[in-house]
Symmetry: C2
Subunit: 293 residues, 2 copies
């Protein structure tokens, strides 16, 4: 499949699973321009070069490229360092920036605070894709296929630029949707960051009790429900810190639901418990997208 993109050059900063899957996606869709990549780990850059995923070996990127998209695929709290390095090293012309970070308000603030000059050319995005695995070796050309990519435009962005970023993700197979950064952060605190916290807490409590026997008698639910506790710790540390207030609120609300169930079990009224479980089951079964039924 040949896919048109709106850039002559694409520079991906950070060649982990998210950045690596961008590279594979561009390669498999035969991006006609040139792809460059940078990573703090020179071995990873060598690998990406050997796999023909990036044009440059270490540090061989022309500093005066024209018509460039820079994609920051780094952990959320590394965005400042990554921006500083790119802006000090290159003098690109006609450049747009985007990112893949899981928290958007903190990235927006980072640009406003330290790189106001690129603010209008920076269109925030967040591909809703990933797994508990990490690193270039976990990358896949189909990671973004049929997944949602949230675009969080701000008032300084031009409509034509926003469309180019949407076209990038759609070109990689994603469905795009626009949300304000603050709405995005509050929403994903509930539907993504909270499940990760629950997964960490479950693995912590089970391991504290059962140690090396943790999975010995499990029928599968425990493996499923702790899966994302195997995610990249640095990425998730960043998300928790960057989205602190929304995450803490989500945990508090979850604790209220947990307390409600505890009280119902303590009370031991069969009808109340069945009604509660039934109403939750009904909500889920009714709302779940067809594909997951």
């Amino acid at each position: 499949m040949i896919q048109n993109f709106d850039f002559k050059n694409i520079l991906v900063i950070g060649l982990g699973m998210i950045g690596g899957s961008l590279l594979y996606g561009l390669q498999s869709r035969r991006f006609k321009g040139t792809v460059y990549g940078l990573d703090t780990d020179s071995e990873v850059m060598k690998s990406a070069h050997n796999l023909n995923l990036i044009n440059n070996a270490i540090d061989e990127i022309p500093t005066n490229l024209n018509e460039v998209l820079v994609i920051f695929a780094v952990p959320t709290l590394s965005i400042n360092t990554a921006m500083a390095e790119v802006l000090s090293k290159f003098e690109f012309k006609n450049v747009l920036y985007t990112d893949t970070c899981s928290v958007k308000s903190s990235v927006l603030e980072a640009i406003q605070d330290t790189n106001q000059n690129i603010l209008n050319n920076f269109i925030l995005s967040h591909p809703i894709a990933g797994s508990e695995k990490s690193g270039l070796s976990a990358s896949s050309e189909s990671l973004y296929d049929k997944r949602l990519a949230i675009i969080c435009p701000h008032e300084g962005n031009k409509e034509e630029d926003i469309k180019k970023i949407e076209n990038l993700w759609e070109g990689l197979g994603s469905i795009t949707k626009r949300l304000p950064a603050s709405v995005h952060d509050d929403l994903f605190a509930k539907t993504s960051h909270l499940p990760h916290i629950i997964s960490y807490a479950l693995m912590d409590t089970v391991f504290n009790d059962l140690k090396e026997d943790s999975f010995l008698h499990s029928g599968g639910s425990l493996e499923d429900y702790t899966r994302i506790a195997s995610s990249d710790p640095v990425m998730w540390k960043d998300i928790m810190i960057a989205n602190k207030s929304s995450v803490l609120e989500a945990i508090d609300n979850f604790s209220l639901s947990l307390d409600k169930i505890s009280s119902l079990i303590k009370e031991g009224n069969p009808d109340k418990l069945v009604n509660f479980f039934s109403s939750i089951k009904t909500s889920r079964d009714m709302l779940l997208p067809e594909k997951n039924k």
Copy 2:
């Protein structure tokens, strides 16, 4: 595959997914004896009869069978009613009993309290298999294949009888393991009942906040982490009540882990958060059975 079992007759009480999968398993392994089934829903019994899964149409089970295994595949708290009905209706000779309930101490107490005369012939078992689906139509001949079946012998059971029940589950493809009933209940409160409670609480809190938009922006984790909230409400009401004290203790311990993570996020110390997440990831990755890696 023809599999030898140690009974001439097998009567399954309760033809939901668990009982139905026993019937399919016996059929596919060409059990040489006769299989009977009872369910409170006469339509389900008709279906099972039409599918050649059970020999009897409604109420046509000889009352004086010899060499019989009775398997109670009913929700945990229905065991008393089911036992009363079987014992009042039939006068079997050379009979063993087992069950499939998810909580074992409460079943043992029910037998001790009301049917002491069959106590020594009742070998408790719990196949660690199931899904969020329920009913005869969700049954599968391979449900017990390569799954664990926990046997909880008590001091009145004879070794030869315990072996016959182990042989039943092994004949259906399971791996058997013996555990005392109280150890079983404490263990599964942590590794199975707790994940279900978490799933209910997560679905409850997300639905309270997001209503019909609950899954609209999810990347998959939310679907995964609420999957078992679609389980059978009556079955899980019974489990929560029957295993109340172990379940409440498991929730309390989980809440402590959740509070620990909340405090770390509030404090916002990056090193402490990374260390905590890393240590949890290490435990999981180290312990997880190879098949799930």
